[in-house]
Symmetry: D2
Subunit: 233 residues, 4 copies
């Protein structure tokens, strides 16, 4: 089996599905990770070349189980994308503190678990990519993102620490700041009055990440930012 393998966490109807389709189109077998087994099963039916591995990435044992199955059924992944995300809205007084902790488990600890499980194999092969999707909360703490932004900041800096270690060993680690509202049904509903140009397309995000995963070894990006042309920043 000569196809390359890509693992995507947090596969739902938006960015995760778009990443799956993009890597399948680029001749990858894609292992889809998410907690929602039912939704994953449906996507498996929809996308030939993609396979569902229900899994909570904040639990290293579940990652181990999923990883063993992926390696047995598809092979060792060349690309791992940590797209799963736990979010929250509210100021430091409004949020339940447990929410900040839970988001840290998914966003930061999940990245650590995935990296520890998959990157050693990439280092052995001297090739591979680990990419995390983030947003401007990784760089800036808005008042209403007290339960979320700290965990994305942690995630970005963890990715940086992994990049500095694994990069010289041939493994490309990158962090993508998506500075926009992603075009999915529920955001269209919430921002009804906005024009198309307000949204970033999941397929465009996926194109950028596919490009990123295949950059020439002499010209890798770590920090990547993408936003719609009309976005003010």
């Amino acid at each position: 089996m000569s196809e390359k393998v890509c693992v995507v966490s947090g596969v739902g109807p938006g960015t995760g599905a778009a990443l799956t389709r993009r890597f399948v189109a680029g001749d990858y077998r894609v292992a889809m990770l998410a907690r929602n087994a039912e939704r994953l099963a449906k996507l498996e039916t929809d996308i030939a070349g993609a396979k569902a591995y229900p899994c909570d990435v904040s639990d290293p044992r579940q990652i181990d189980t999923a990883a063993a199955a992926i390696e047995r059924e598809l092979g060792s992944p060349a690309v791992v994308i940590h797209n799963a995300v736990g979010g929250a809205f509210g100021s430091f007084l409004e949020i339940d503190p447990a929410v900040l902790n839970q988001n840290f488990q998914t966003n930061a600890m999940g990245l650590l678990h995935l990296a520890r499980r998959f990157v050693p194999g990439m280092i052995t092969r001297g090739a591979g990519a680990l990419i995390a999707t983030g947003n401007t909360s990784a760089l800036r703490g808005r008042a209403s993102f007290a339960g979320f932004a700290p965990t994305k900041a942690a995630q970005r800096i963890l990715a940086e620490a992994i990049a500095r270690d694994a990069g010289p060993k041939g493994v490309h680690v990158a962090y993508v700041v998506i500075d926009a509202v992603i075009d999915v049904p529920w955001t269209r509903e919430r921002f009804k009055e906005r024009p198309d140009s307000f949204f970033i397309k999941p397929s465009a995000i996926a194109d950028e990440i596919f490009h990123l995963a295949h950059q020439d070894k002499s010209a890798w990006s770590f920090n990547v930012e993408i936003r719609p042309f009309g976005e003010s920043w």
Copy 2:
């Protein structure tokens, strides 16, 4: 009782003790928080005007208990300094993942718990300061700080989210990046060959934080960086 009250977490022989002495010298009663009750008791004996409140800041119930005692015995704090810190050394593959999580509890969740317990009173009074001590790991993920840097980045961004909420309500929140090795016995031992100028003095850190806590309301700093004159950066 007209003296102002300052709470300092993570009081050991270094920065915490220096902060305590500085605020006592500035006519504050200082409540010292730390897990090590014995060490705190000794400092209480040494520093007139300081009182020990053994407490693990990662546990909100312990903070509640300590806070109630502080308010009863000293009064509501005008200044709270989160100086407690959990550290670790090692790459993402070398560390025990539990260490990253534990450091998050002390560094980030501890800040959230302290803020939730003390800042509402400051908002009511329209005055007060919440200051966290950090270091360059808050801004940069070195390979060997995979178990630590993400938690300081989270802490800084959480402080920023609190600052944006509490600032306009009269509460000054700031984050101090100490870009240096602090001059304490164990660092002197570890960096034996280094000259005095290599180290940042705990008393100088304390002077800066005292200044910060008393800036004119029209000219507050959030991000503060301090380093010895000879530090390359």
Copy 3:
């Protein structure tokens, strides 16, 4: 004539020539700008599809003259890349102050002149890209780059101001931080002992910039950083 047009400033044997070849390969006619007419003429002979327009970009009248010729002979450019650069080495006391000023003329004023001459046409067409090549000096002032880094910082912030104005009008402005030594004969001579992996390949830079110039409108990057896999940062 249906081919698109690309203007590249600062075309010499390194990044400029690689950009020229990459855009020619991507079906562009390329207008090469540089002060050295002789070297340009040779490249024109070497690269079918590229045309030489000797020009000092720090002089708006020379840009006007070249631009008029380009538009007459090739058409209005869809992509303009400001790659010309004036450099210097030395501390603030070692440099001739005139050098800082001269580099500002080429690096920052040159970008402004190019933008003023070419971007209005792109805005009218609602499409186009203006990309500047930079390096880490745009973000950081090392002691020995006192005559250079300030001009790259100015250039990056000018690009940002242009991006915020022209972006919503359909023109993609981006800034590429090349965090590496570029692989050209004179750097190979200077860093003789370094392995291949130390250098960034001009062709890889060109690939990234070509990609950047063709990103989906819903997912544009402004800040772009690229470095070899083995680079420590």
Copy 4:
């Protein structure tokens, strides 16, 4: 004569006058630099301990002349503050390109000239401070600040390059980002409807800079940011 000497450039009725008063209050003789000789003469009459040296800081010969007079009449400065600033408003298409260049001469070249003239003496004495006042334009290019922001970015990075060279030699270089509208008559007129809390007080800026110039050598700040408590950022 045991008093210390401070040089302030760009002394007008706002920050410059406040700096002058603050350093005079702190037992400095203050040399005031500005192009407007008449206004300077008036301030000299108003502030005992301050002396007028009309001078355009973008011209190194005028700086030399003023410096020679200052050293003869007051002594070598312990503190130099580059507060002179050339500004502009408008997008990259709206501004006259000459304005960007002129602002560069005052903001960046002026800093270089002052540093080259005064810092060598400080290095010889192993003590002194060079401080530049800036604003958020040094960090961010808003569309309407195309003729200004690039020059403040250049200024900040130049200050950083000087800091890295002169710091280890005992000279403290710092850059102050004033993230607010300064409270002076013309801004009060322009932002009539704003409350007091909207503005940063020149005297508060001056207090911060005085503090900065006297930080303990083991705990220097380079980047300093100050903003009113109610400022959103």
